[in-house]
Amino acid sequence: MSATPPARTASLKLARSNRQSPARKRADRFGDIGLRVICLAAAVLAGIVLILIAKEVFEGAHPAISNYGLSFLTTHEWAPPLEKFGGEGLIMGTLITSAIAIFIGAPVAISIGIFLALLAPAGVRNVISPLVEMLAAIPSVILGFWGVIVFGPFVAGTLEPFLHRWLGFIPIFGAPQTVGAGIFTAGLILTIMVIPIIASVSRDLFMAVPRELQDGAAALGSTRWEVIRGVVLPTTLSGMIAATLLGLGRALGEAIAVSQVVGGATESHISLFKTGGTLASIIALQFPSAISAMHYASLYYCAALLLVIGIASNLLASWVGMRFGSAGGVTR
């Protein structure tokens, strides 16, 4: 009783020292303002960099924009030695490869999300989830290299002849190439790249669907699939769209893997099996060896187009996510 516990003395001392000597008060005022300002500065810096990126890219593209204007979007001739640049083939290549990736990738990825979130037992989920994320971690250059050596020849030798034999009456499945490079191969490589992105986002979406809703549907006699179709998918629709747009943004902007397997052409064909190019891949392929100022400017023009498309798909994704329900995808 007589001796105060030492811990208490210490805390009293601390409390007393916290009773703010003027020097400490001053330090706290500066410290508070200082840390706040530094944090704000970091955020502002990020904003400035983003604006600067847009400004520099558009300024670099200015000679090409003022020279070709919008006809850049509609002509497909790309001949650096002749100073002729038209991006129509590249834009088509970008859209087609990304469309292949999304049309194949999104359903598969969403199925994976369903499996991981709703069907798999916890043990299986804890093994497969990291593996799917690992697929996202494979660098695009390695995926592209694998595409050149292993996957491209398989596509050219097996897949394309097969599709041509059975679906050749549709013009997009034209005569197969002898080399593996082409729009189709690039689209399939992009599919591999977007699947883990969409899958992990949609897995998180499905996990956030309230258990009671699902149990309610199950109690009414629904099968598991009917619970998914009737409850889970409708409540997460906006989130799935956002996830798909996220994957689309990634596919549109991927330069390296595509440039390795797309074949480096600059015109568009009806057949998917022909070589082509995309806005991003042409930059990676031709930038290091650009031959004239106009060539650089045209590549910058491609970058500017890519920037606009990329930011638009990103903003659209956040807007959809925000407008139609929270990140959890649960509509109220």
Partner: protein, 298 residues
């Protein structure tokens, strides 16, 4: 009993086994089909991973030797490894403080609207194609100085890494119990002191995790180094970041563009080293994250 395919509902037969018929059978079939497809999709994704990793390992292992890792061209890839290390190091040194500060701003200082704006900024930055960031840094640094450099590549990687680090850090900052913040406030501790001495230390594990993950991502980024540091030959070890540095992704890219079987073997070897580093970083950071999350949840 025999020969009667479907018993009429009013004739209840207790010996009949309970099997779904008619509509219910159809619904069960659809259910099984859908589940089967979902499982197949998951198996397909894992199969692709296994096929790719297997291709890299089985081809790459032939190239790996002590000389391959430590010597310069034409025998090995030592300078490329060092160069990638320097470039990624520069990028991470720049990106980590900025990313952490942005995360602090988001979780401690920004109001609702401010947080939303900065969050959107980070999302856009994260979604920016890396080739555009590369073009930007090229215009900003390489074009005026007429000199590729590891520093320029590092800056481009920093722009890629900042949103990753910011998001990872912010996730952990949100896990720090608000009771700790309130306790500090109640003791009259100034905000900046509680941020620096209580909140940040609690989030250290998450910050390290986010940084490791961003390093793993940056190490394999190819677009920036192709534009900003691709002219180095890689025969000698170079450390000067003001000049172009040889590095791993560019070499893989160059070798994959040449039709040279020996080069392909070397590219497989490079890929194996790169993938091994990335997977180790990824697994390590995952373990770390789980540990620090458990700690915070306690």
């Amino acid at each position: 009993m025999i020969g009667r395919r479907r018993p009429a509902p009013e004739e209840f037969d207790p010996t009949q086994p309970l099997v779904a018929t008619g509509n219910l059978a159809r619904r069960h079939l659809a259910n099984r089909l859908a589940q089967g497809l979902a499982i197949a999709a998951a198996i397909a994704a894992v199969a692709v991973l296994v096929i790719v990793v297997w291709a890299v390992v089985s081809h790459g292992i032939k190239a790996i030797s002590w000389d391959f890792i430590t010597k310069g061209e034409p025998d090995g890839i030592g300078p490329n490894l060092v160069g990638t290390g320097v470039i990624v190091g520069i990028g991470t040194l720049i990106a980590m403080p900025i990313g952490v500060l942005i995360a602090l701003f988001l979780s401690e200082y920004a109001g609702r609207r401010g947080a939303r704006v900065v969050q959107l900024l980070m999302d856009v930055m994260n979604g920016l194609p890396s080739i555009i960031i590369a073009v930007f840094v090229y215009i900003l640094i390489v074009e005026p100085t007429k000199q590729q450099s590891g520093l320029a590549a590092g800056i481009a990687l920093a722009i890629i890494e900042v949103p990753l680090i910011a998001r990872g850090t912010q996730e952990v900052l949100n896990l720090v119990p608000s009771a700790q913040r309130e306790a500090a406030d109640a003791l009259g501790v100034a905000r900046w002191r509680s941020v620096l001495t209580i909140i940040l230390p609690a989030a250290t594990g998450g910050i390290v995790t986010a940084t490791l993950l961003s390093v793993a991502r940056a190490a394999g980024e190819t677009a920036p180094v192709i534009l900003l540091s691709s002219l180095a030959r890689g025969d000698t070890f170079q450390l000067n970041p003001l000049k172009e540095l040889p590095n791993v992704p560019v070499r893989i890219f160059q070798l994959s563009e040449e039709a040279n079987p020996e080069g392909f073997t070397k590219a497989w070897g490079l890929s194996l080293v790169l993938i091994a580093v990335i997977l180790v970083l990824g697994l390590g950071s995952r373990a770390l994250l789980n540990r620090s999350k458990r700690k915070l949840a306690r």
